[in-house]
């Protein structure tokens, strides 16, 4: 019986495998792929089964899997080990490769996303080409999901190993290509994260394009009054950085600009930036137009004569601005901007600006600028959750219910009230202020956000301190569920604020009612520690609203091919071990766009991203996975259908030996397989995912080991 089986195996091999051999040998165009070609007959595969402690061994019969693996065709060696990824585990692999003259390695363990690089290195160290390694995932896709199905997971592991061996027997030597890296980087978003990342890149000598969609850099942090727990003035610590960014010789500031298109890959991104029509020329732009000594100097003469009044977004709409405006006196760059959605083009500003400066151009249009960068950092930041959606708290219905960002502007000396906290309804100074924590955070109703916004506890403590300090006799009531004072000196800050007289009420606010006459507010909650409901009569309510990604984040992330998690925050490559990286090589994340962070964490994340983004640039070249498509020229009919299908413009038709054949630009090819799957003549060979390799895997699965 066994002999018969063997015979059929051989027979089918000669039928199926022979053409494969031919194909590969004919690959004159891709000599790398032909090197070290093994046929299935002389393949000697080693199978190494990992216990992963009890992660795998606790859910399946490892000895049974091992015994089975020995019976799989082409398997020359089988072993198991408690932790295959450990140094001794890797040594087992290396030794077996040498001792048994293995031609391929299969490790049955975790996900290739975790340890493929580890085992490739082990394979390489034993003298075998690293691409002769294949991984069988028996953890994430098996033991973890079938934790309580001993027999089922054992059988599935056998299948996985058989399939992996089938492919490993046909694997070829591959050699990664290196491509040069453009010595420039792009940072998208110029809040504190983007600024810090750009400053670090500048300090590392890397040309950096800092793209910001609003007219000024500074972001959310520039809207804040003070910062916890040190109580430094936010602007005082931020403006030096803003000025540094403005002066840094390697930073090219692109304010009032947005990323419009991204092409290319790590080392060679071609980014198109849309410079929105600003209507005002910088001195440099004026000079380029031949207006020597002209351009905007920030004098503000234009603003004085502009007849159009609009709400100032920087002041959360609590202060007016003109159609030609700067948001606040400390903007960088100090260049005015025309809001063309409200400008009536009366021309008064042009007259006021005068013939020397000639800074205003009412006919200016969006411009598109193309830049080439090696790496990019996204630092797109956050917005406030529209807390009026939680109707029970009455935001936008009751005048004296405000958000914490509005509170920041009201308490800030440069804000709309000069730093005097007032009730919006009557301008009176509040004497009792309620702070509603988790306003839209930790909310599973689908209206709010399921996550903790992380910095609301601490800034609300800071707000409590500020009103105690500024308004004698004013009592803050902080309605909280948990005070999450997790950072350095944060718990001490909590102690201090309680000592200063803030009253903490442990209960989430159920609803708020307004006294229509006085516009005072009744805050209803359960004092869970006293086990009694509360009706707190206060003058002002501050909602510590949840945060969410900026509205434009989704568009930007798609341009850079970055994923997002369920809640919309951008997805890091690994939540613990690669928090700044993304699954797109060469694109990194900084600050809150990856998830809520306070300022220290944001700056740390930005420095991490800058460091990560500078590594490929300093190395000067990056290795690309050699998974590109190759053309088998003998088979190529030169129809060119693949050329248009390629999403990365990596294919073209060239003339060779008097006829048209397809040619692959390997650096552009991502190995997606679109062309290989389509080619009607079977003339495209996908390295490492070749048709015969995949067919062998499918056969191994469907035929249950028979060939």
């Amino acid at each position: 019986m066994a002999e018969k089986k063997k015979a059929t195996t051989k027979k089918s091999e000669s039928k199926k495998v022979a053409p494969v051999k031919q194909e590969v040998k004919k690959q004159a165009a891709a000599p790398a792929a032909a090197v070290g070609q093994t046929t299935k007959q002389d393949a000697r595969i080693g199978v190494f089964i990992c216990h992963c402690g009890t992660n795998i061994a606790g859910s399946m019969d490892i000895p049974a899997v091992q015994e089975y693996a020995k019976t799989v065709p082409n398997v020359a060696f089988v072993d198991n080990y408690k932790y295959m990824c450990s140094m001794p585990g890797q040594a087992v692999i290396s030794k077996a490769i040498k001792d048994n003259k293995l031609t391929g390695v299969v490790v049955a363990a975790c996900s290739p996303r975790l340890h493929e690089p580890t085992f490739r290195t082990a394979t390489k160290e034993a003298g075998l080409n690293p691409f002769r390694f294949e991984m069988a995932n028996i953890r994430e896709q098996n033991s973890w999901v079938h934790m309580h199905d001993w027999e089922g997971s054992t059988d599935k592991a056998k299948d996985a190993i058989r399939i992996a061996v089938a492919k490993a027997a046909l694997l070829q030597d591959l050699f990664p290509k290196s491509v040069p890296v453009e010595k420039a980087a792009m940072v998208v978003g110029a809040g504190v994260a983007g600024m810090q990342a750009a400053l670090d890149l500048d300090a590392a000598g890397i040309k950096t394009y800092l793209v910001e969609s609003t007219p000024s850099i500074g972001g959310r942090m520039s809207q804040l009054d003070k910062t916890f727990p040190t109580l430094d003035c936010s602007q005082c610590i931020l403006t030096p950085k803003m000025v540094d960014v403005g002066r840094a010789k390697n930073i090219e500031l692109m304010t009032y600009s947005e990323v419009d298109a991204v092409e290319g890959y790590i080392g060679n991104f071609d980014v198109t930036v849309r410079k929105k029509a600003r209507g005002v020329l910088t001195p440099a732009e004026a000079e380029a137009r031949g207006i020597v000594g002209g351009g905007c100097n920030g004098c503000g003469d234009c603003e004085a004569v502009c007849p159009v009044v609009k709400p100032n977004d920087f002041e959360v709409g609590m202060k007016p601005r003109k159609a030609i405006y700067i948001n606040h006196p400390q903007v960088v760059p100090l260049i005015y901007t025309i809001d063309f959605n409200s400008c009536i083009k009366c021309g008064l500003c042009v007259t006021a600006c005068g013939p020397e400066k000639k800074a205003i151009d009412l006919e200016s249009k969006d411009e598109f600028v193309k830049v080439k960068v090696g790496t990019a950092i996204l630092a797109t930041g956050f917005d406030i959750f529209p807390v009026e959606k939680k109707e029970e708290w009455g935001y936008k219905r009751y005048e004296n219910v405000i958000t914490s960002l509005e509170f920041e502007r009201l308490i800030c000396a440069s804000g709309p009230t000069g730093g005097h906290l007032v009730r919006p309804s009557d301008g009176e100074t509040p004497k009792r202020v309620a702070f509603v924590l988790c306003a839209g955070s930790r909310d599973n109703t689908g209206v709010g956000k399921p996550y903790c916004s992380r910095f609301c506890c601490m800034y609300s403590l800071k707000h409590a301190h500020q009103i105690i300090e500024k308004i004698p006799g004013c009592t803050p009531y902080i309605f909280y569920m948990d005070i999450r004072s997790f950072g350095k000196m944060y718990e001490e800050f909590y102690y201090r604020i309680q000592d200063e007289g803030a009253k903490f009420i442990r209960g989430r606010v159920a609803n708020i009612l307004e006294d229509p006459k006085t516009k005072n507010l009744h805050v209803h909650a359960d004092d869970t520690l006293l086990d009694r409901p509360v009706d707190m009569d206060v003058d002002l309510v501050v909602l510590a609203a949840a945060v969410q990604p900026m509205a434009d984040t989704n568009r930007t992330r798609k341009l850079f091919g970055v994923s997002c998690s369920m809640d919309g925050w951008l997805l890091e490559a690994h939540p613990k071990l690669n928090p700044c990286g993304t699954t797109t090589a060469g694109v990194f994340l900084a600050g809150v766009c990856q998830g809520p962070k306070d300022i220290p964490d944001t700056v740390a994340s930005a420095e991490g991203a800058a460091s990560a983004a500078s590594i490929p640039i300093h190395k000067g070249e990056v290795e690309l996975e050699p998974y590109f498509a190759t053309c088998i020229e003998e088979k190529c009919a030169g129809c060119g259908m693949c050329v248009n299908l390629c999403p990365y413009s990596a294919l073209s038709l060239v003339e060779k030996e008097g006829r048209q054949v397809m040619q692959v630009t390997e650096a552009k090819c991502k190995g997606c397989g679109t062309c290989g799957g389509f080619c009607p003549g079977g003339a495209i060979w996908m390295n490492h995912f070749a048709t015969p390799q995949i067919v062998a895997q499918i056969d191994a699965f469907l035929l249950g080991g028979e060939q």
């Binding site: 569920m481 442990r506 606010v509 609803n511 209803h524 909650a525 359960d526 869970t528 409901p533």
Partner: protein, 193 residues
Amino acid sequence: MVRTKGYPEALEKKLHDQRYYREDSNPDFTKNVKAISRTIAHMCYQCGTCTGSCPSAPRSTYRIRKFMRRAVLGLENEALTDPDLWLCTTCYSCTDRCPRDIAPTDVIMAMRNLAFKRDIIPVNFLKTVQSIYKTGHGVPNNDVNRAAREKLGLTRDPPTTHMYPEYIPGIQKIIDHYKLKANADRIVKEREG
């Protein structure tokens, strides 16, 4: 677990051990409450939004949050024997606002179901059952109401079983199917003789 110290009765009552012990928790209680209420009763994080929203809480000892806590911990006896269980008006304000998307009202209803299985129920609830059985109404119409309705230009009786008493047998059939009336009569008799 011995919880008495052998003090004289009065002192024992005053100083009785109020702690709860592991064996006070019945995990099946949490499961049963979840199954009957069809809400994630074990997910409460005790923020108090429910009690803060509760119209009963300010004027009674009823604390919905406490019942949620008992559901989480499986404190069956404590939950079912607490007379406050019957103070919920089932207005659903807590369910509207619960940030964990739990329906505390339905948890209370589930606990009342489980309590009734142990004959724990206030007599007034049973009298409501008897009233519905008899008239189709928990609060039947009365002469004051009839006069008020007449004044408003309405019929003296509303278009319910009051106007169509021929539907009362149908209601009785449903109530009898669950032996609700029989149980109500039995318990009322036991309590009031």
